[in-house]
Symmetry: D2
Amino acid sequence: MTAGGAEGRLPAKRTRSGGYNRRVEIKAHEIRHRVLYAETDQMGVVYYANYLIWMEMGRVEYCRAAGVRYRDMEKEDGVLLTVAEANCRFLSPAYYDEEIAIRTWVGRAHARMVQFNYEMRNIADARLLAAGYTKHVFCDRSMKPSKLPARYRPLFGLET
Amino acid sequence: MTAGGAEGRLPAKRTRSGGYNRRVEIKAHEIRHRVLYAETDQMGVVYYANYLIWMEMGRVEYCRAAGVRYRDMEKEDGVLLTVAEANCRFLSPAYYDEEIAIRTWVGRAHARMVQFNYEMRNIADARLLAAGYTKHVFCDRSMKPSKLPARYRPLFGLET
Amino acid sequence: MTAGGAEGRLPAKRTRSGGYNRRVEIKAHEIRHRVLYAETDQMGVVYYANYLIWMEMGRVEYCRAAGVRYRDMEKEDGVLLTVAEANCRFLSPAYYDEEIAIRTWVGRAHARMVQFNYEMRNIADARLLAAGYTKHVFCDRSMKPSKLPARYRPLFGLET
Amino acid sequence: MTAGGAEGRLPAKRTRSGGYNRRVEIKAHEIRHRVLYAETDQMGVVYYANYLIWMEMGRVEYCRAAGVRYRDMEKEDGVLLTVAEANCRFLSPAYYDEEIAIRTWVGRAHARMVQFNYEMRNIADARLLAAGYTKHVFCDRSMKPSKLPARYRPLFGLET
């Protein structure tokens, strides 16, 4: 696994196959985002639904850093990551024009689903703004759940 | 033309065909919308891009009132209304939880394009909030410009 | 409690105060929403962050049906419902132009927080699209957690 | 004027004051943006209202490149740039995951208003996606139109 995360290594995933263990290293990937005026609301803070967009930004770039364009996965191989659940805890408000770090890693995965975890921090003061996860089911072009093709499994820390 | 607008008649469109005029009545259609928290920004007013979403709401309901579901037009007949231009003048701010009237009518149209006009008012005090237009090019499923099929022409005040 | 929900009664809340029980009836409130083009993504379904906006629509109208404008609560009494957590499980995709019912009720509440629960259904076929909750902390104008003023407690099924 | 634009010089602005001309150089500023899934609609292209958000991104970074944080201008000096008009012509669709260049420059300005112009291009093939402008009125904290304080005038190519 070659995910180009900027951060320390997360606990390695173990997958068991044919009687031996192969460790697949999963690292978190981090991106930066500047809070837009469009993202604030009249409370003067970022509107809560926008954190789910930040999560999207995080997981797309996680994939790219790992060598996979989500667009190609969808277009060329018809693999859709439909969202089954999203959760976010809001710990500290984010303000206009602040620079945010969005850290993304694979929480758990198997051939039919993957969970991404996220942490969002204010870069200037390292304040933790929010933490959450999204669970995804791999689907084919007709939106039917299906097994992730082998070539994409390393992306999520799975053996092929 | 049976557009179910609540408002007075707009200047009639004339279309010329085979040497005689047939007048097609076009009426404005009006819908209501309650300003969401999500739509405000930290200035305490509605963020400007949201007015373009209100315009979408207006024109979809204009079509429905005229007896055409835009979804069917797109799905069944492959007619896409791609947006070629959008314009909005912001005259007075809109605030959270205010009820807004969005009035929509066809400005001009021919077989290859249509312009919708919009006015957005605060219902409580009749304040004009914004006015604008969108210009659309009729396209087929492959996003190529194409003539509007005859059956949809009355929707836009055009002769078949 | 006079919440104007269209639906059946939810399990009553009990709150204990001074040695006797007063039952406060809580009913769900339901609103309708037509899926916008703006809300879809290229997968042809509603983008997942928009469900959190639907939840906002649901809880604001829940409050209004119960006789409280959220805007007044915020403006006049400086009571802010900051979001502490949001969760949504996506069960079936929602499509453009479908009419959706958003059902909202108070899950649990005390003087410092309230949880709203939501169910979103396709009206035409009663398909359950999504279910989730949001947890809110009552804050004052300076965004500090604070106890909900007594006059608003019945809104959330709490004794004054 | 030291705007850190990456691009060629735009036609210089002349402002006349006390009988002599001082030329203030205005340069365009360019930023990059990767199209999000959230920004697409079911037509498979970027939903039109999102271009107005891209314009916001462009003008905020234009200001920052010129040495002014819009946030500080708003917070510290109570200068609000309310939007009076927005216009966008959509020339070629933008697709998911494409990298976009947003080029921003001051079209014209005086002490009471400023117009920003924008061009949005696909970076890979230099395709012009959209072009437009926004007109802004300088307001004070109470949202009343007011003259731009002298210290901010160079930002918009104006003499102090």
